[in-house]
């Protein structure tokens, strides 16, 4: 047995220079999954791209899952420098036309993960408005924000659910993006001011977890 395996203490490296793959316990995911087990025939949107783990986990409850790779769409629309690319109005509009184009009230739950922190104002407010639009009343979404104040660039991860409170972060090869700003609690309350409630989860590894309820 490897000590610390699966707990993120000694993360294993996927390649020589690649960011490590992390396994972490997520109280926010645990909260999100409590709904999955309590109801039937829910529609869940996973914005981390398609992965076998998430598909199997959600469909294992008997729910329907939709996949959309929002960071992949950012890369297509904004280029390598996300922050600079989204300053052009045409790029921003192209992003909004390609992402989150689902009908109103389509989903009971949305797994946003950490994608929003790479969007700057006013695009991030527009994206949040779209998320609230496509989510049904009473639905909830799980959002992560990095809580390191001084860090600027972050590796981009895909998030794979292992169980109801454990998620594995797999780094996308060669992708580190600049965060648009540091989001403190006040920023986040303002960002989600149109939601019915916001629940914060404090974590030990510089990741702020939120459950946003419509």
């Amino acid at each position: 047995m490897i000590f610390g395996a699966g707990k993120g203490i000694f993360p294993k490296s996927t390649a020589k220079d690649a960011p490590p793959t992390l396994t972490r316990t997520s109280s926010g995911l645990n909260q999100f999954c409590s709904v999955l087990g309590a109801y039937q025939d829910l529609s869940i949107l996973d914005m981390s791209g398609a992965s076998q783990a998430n598909i199997s986990f959600v469909t294992g409850y008997g729910h329907r899952i939709s996949s959309d790779d929002i960071i992949g769409t950012m890369g297509e629309c904004f280029g390598k420098d996300l922050l600079e690319g989204q300053q052009a109005a045409s790029n921003a509009q192209r992003f909004l036309d390609q992402s989150l184009t689902f009908p109103d009230n389509s989903f009971d739950g949305i797994l946003v993960w950490d994608a929003l922190q790479f969007l700057s104002s006013p695009l991030i407010e527009q994206a949040v408005a779209q998320l609230l639009r496509i989510m049904r009343s009473g639905g909830q979404m799980l959002v992560y924000f990095n809580s390191q104040e001084k860090a600027v660039r972050f590796p981009v991860y895909t998030y794979r659910i292992q169980d109801h409170r454990t998620v594995t972060q797999v780094a996308r090869p060669g992708s580190t993006y600049q965060r648009s700003q540091y989001f403190n609690s006040r920023n986040l309350e303002q960002l989600f001011e149109h939601a019915s409630s916001i629940k914060f989860f404090l974590t030990r590894d510089h990741l702020r977890e939120l459950i946003i309820r419509k």
């Binding site: 645990n30 109801y39 791209g49 598909i55 916001i198 989860f201």
Partner: protein, 194 residues
Amino acid sequence: MWSKRTQDELPQRPEKPAGAPPASAVPSTEPPRRETNTMSSPSRVFDPEPISTRSTGPAALGKNVTIKGQIFAREDLTIDGEVEGTVECQEHRLTIGPNARVQAGLKAREIIIHGSIQGNVDATDKIDIKKEAKLVGDIKTSRIVIEDGAYFKGSIDISKAVVNKPAPQPAAAPQPAPQPAAAVPNAAAAVTAK
């Protein structure tokens, strides 16, 4: 193959034209041919199997083939070209090759995707999305396998295969609107109600 064939199985020679002389009247320098069925003369062995039943592998549309319309297949089918329309291979396997560009709704027992698809995909048994695949559309299937690196945008509806169909039940009570469950006791959580 070692059993002797009956006379009915032997090939029938074409009938002579009406004006042709009888065979006995034509002088011939060659000895009369004999139909044999031995290993020593394979070139003369008659293959009674019709062409349609010969095993030739799955049907395939090559990468330089473009089809617009409806495709119905009663055997396994591989598509490596361009298709626009619908493709149905009920009870069979459909393989979308790496060069394929498909804008169509697909229905089959099993679908394996290497190429690019824009359209809804319905597999009664299984869908296998390989790492180089790109699929934009909704999926309905019993089982799904998706490799890392595959691009997928759409919804997945898992329909469990029904073995024994139960008797129809009265309509179930309507589902309650999805509401988050009660907050999990967690000392680190704080709620901001609006």
